[in-house]
Structures are given as C-alpha cells and as structure tokens.
Symmetry: C2
Subunit: 259 residues, 2 copies
Amino acid sequence: MLCHMNGIMFYPLLEEAGDFINSSVRGKKLIICIGLFSVEYLGRSSSNLGLGERVLMVKEDGSVLVHRRVGYEPVNWQPAGCIIRCGVRDGKLLLLSERRRPKEFLKVVFDKVYLITSTSLVDEARFEIGPVENEFYDLLMAHPEYIEEGLRIVSRQKSMPSGIPDFTGKDSKGNYVIIEVKRSMAGVDSVKQLDRYMKSQRGHFRGILCAPSITKSALLILKKKGYDFRRLNLKALSSLVAFKPYEETLDRHLEEGGS
Amino acid sequence: MLCHMNGIMFYPLLEEAGDFINSSVRGKKLIICIGLFSVEYLGRSSSNLGLGERVLMVKEDGSVLVHRRVGYEPVNWQPAGCIIRCGVRDGKLLLLSERRRPKEFLKVVFDKVYLITSTSLVDEARFEIGPVENEFYDLLMAHPEYIEEGLRIVSRQKSMPSGIPDFTGKDSKGNYVIIEVKRSMAGVDSVKQLDRYMKSQRGHFRGILCAPSITKSALLILKKKGYDFRRLNLKALSSLVAFKPYEETLDRHLEEGGS
C-alpha cells in the first residue's frame, strides 16, 4: 500500500492552482486546498461567507467540503456527484460545484492559494459499528438479554458434528436453544448455517438467528423453517463496552510522554 | 492576510509525526494529515475501521475529523474541546482524542504518515444565511407577502427628514405602513431607527420591524411603542433567488475553458 501523491504546490499562481484542480478532478483524486477565499451557496437555501482563510476538500466522488478554523462541521458542503469546474475570472480563481438534483451551486472564489495537494487513497476497509469481534461475544455472553429476554447461555462455541454455533442456551420457558449471531446484516447463508446446526440435533431445540438486521429472503426462509429472528441493538450493546482499556492507554501515554 | 504554515512534512518517521502533532496541538494549529491508519471509536456507541489511507483533520478547538476517499460525511468525528495526545507505541503512532462529557474516545493508529501539515487560519468573516444584500431587498420588493400577508409596497428607500426607511406601504386594511427590515437579529437600535421614522410622520402610520429574529428587550420596547414585529423566513425567501447568474457563470466558464 502506498499513497500516490499526485503532487503538491505551495503558493501557486491562481492559474496553476486552477489547472491543478481541473486535472485532479479529471483524475478523480482527493484534493485538499488551503487558501484565502469566499464562498456562496445557492440551492434550497442560500448563504454567503466573506473572505477568510479556510480548507477546501474535494473528494474523488465530487463531494465538496469547506472547513473553517473551528468546529467539526463544514460551513458549506455538497454531496457526491457534483460537477466541478475551475478557472481564473477577473483575477480570481473561481471554483464552481454544481449539483443537478436538487439544483444547487457552490461557488468558491479564491484570492490566494497557499497550499494545494491531491492524492489517490487506497481504502477498502469496512466501517463496523459495534464492539470488536472478541468483545462482542464476551458482551453477549455476559448479557444474553440482548439476544432474548430471560435467555441463559449454556455453552459458547461448542463443537458439534455440523459446526460450531455461537451459543447454546435455555430460554425463559426452559426450551433448549441454538443461537447463531451475526454482527452485520444476516443473509440466506446465515439461515443455512443455523439450519445445519439444528438438523444435527436430536430432541427439541429452538433456533435463533440474532443480528442487527436481516434480508427479506433470509427472513422468509427462516420463518418457513420455524426459527426465530432476534434483532440485535448494536448501539445499546456498544454502550456496555468498558472504557478501561482506553483510559489506561491514555494514562500510560500521559505518564510516559509527560517529560 | 497571510496563512502561516507551521510546517509540512512528507513521509516523516512516526516519531517525527507524533512530535509535530503534539506541538501543533499545543500551538492550537489546524492539522491535516494524510496517512495509512485504523480508527476505533468508543462512547455512546462504538465503531471500528480497519487499516486504510485517509485524511485526519484536527482543528484548533480540538475537534477531530476522519475523512475517507468518498462521501461528504466524515467516517468518524469528535466535536470541539477534545483532549488530543499523540505518541509512538509498539511501532505505531497512536493518536487519542478524549471527550470528557459525554465520555468518548477516538483512537487513531497510524502505520504510515504520508503528509502532515499544520497552519493557523485567519478567518473573521460572518456566515450569512439568506440572499446577499442587494438581492434581499429586490426579493422583498417583489414579494412583500414575506413581510406581511396583503401588504403592498409603495416606496423603497424613500428619503425622509429622519432618515431612509427600507419600505413604505399599505397593509390589507388600507393603513399606511413604514417598514424597517433587518437581515439578522433585530436589536434595540433597530427599534429606535423605526421609531425615528415614525415620529417624523404626520397622519396615521403603522410601524413594522421585520427580521429573522429579535432580542427580548427590543421586542418589549417595540410593543410598548405600539409597533409590530414580523418574523422573516430567510430560508423561504432564499428559495426565490434565481439560479440564472450561477448558470451563466458556469456556462461561460465551460465555453471558455473547453479548449
């Protein structure tokens, strides 16, 4: 993995900066520009921001952000899919970002460009909400009520001839249960997996598939097989994660770095 | 006005990048860093983002943003007031951002830093929602119903001995009206201004102060004097602004720049 810097310019002429932006937009690069500029927005509403030093970011999908000195929110932004054009007009560098539906314009007028860089980022990682994998099963083990009220866990990752179900347990009515848990949306494969465990069992077992969400087709098959879906509230589960490891890391750092 | 670049580093060692970040945080600079890193968040919820190339921005007020290749929204963020610490641990550069209330941690773990820069931005401009000044009065002239239903404008910026009120008009009941309009919150000064115009008039006139909002003390005096406040819906008014000038600018640019 290597970050391919398309280039970087310090205090470029406005014409140079304009050419740089246009070629970076064509090359679908991420552009970061620090400069002195004003911003106008016109669309569902309208806004004006006078001259000041700010950061402009244009992403490869055509989304645009203007960030000021402070505050986590951009002062102006446009979502992906904008058409971005740039050129010098009357001694200023004009960047126009046009959104087609709904019709919206963002107009950035540069007096000066201090720094401009563009780059292609390689980033295939998935953004996962909820605890990390090992914590996740620990939390459910300690709090089976997040799977189903009244559930008690009997075994975790118990080896069966047909595989290793996440949990086995006993429900509030005393039924034995086999539980397959997914951290993201459950699909038909998840139902098949649960079905394999269930078929290898003798005696009466309930089957539970527990996940934050489930596809329509998976839910259909699940119900046909007579198993239950239990929606997992990842956000609530996350709130149970202990802060301790973070605080320790920070404290350790503060101690060591305090010299 | 000049943008003071604190410095910039390309492909620094992680130790160098860590020192750079710590000194920039102490100096209350805006930091932009392009690198290969993973992110963990823990707070009201929790999230994990595996290794990938991204942009990290830390603002002078301690707000933190992580931006991926695409999408206008940051994948992770923390608001102003975070405590930011940075240091190398086990061969990785660790950046911890701690929010006190509610307790939240953002942990950024760098494998590589490609580019890092920090700067102090000078930006005193006010962010104004609504049409620019000249358009603003044109729009109200053409759409007096945004001031009061049934109102007709008789004169605009008519010189009086006591000054120049924005509009005079006739209301739905045939009363003559003097109207003072403000583009932002009206204060006691605005009431005094309207009062001057009213006092210089003979005959029966209604007084209207029209603004997006008004201070409590101004409203009190206004009512005591027997004048009316009319709330201006800036967003609705903005939606009336024509796209034409923007489209023309873009078209002109596309034609000229199409070579």
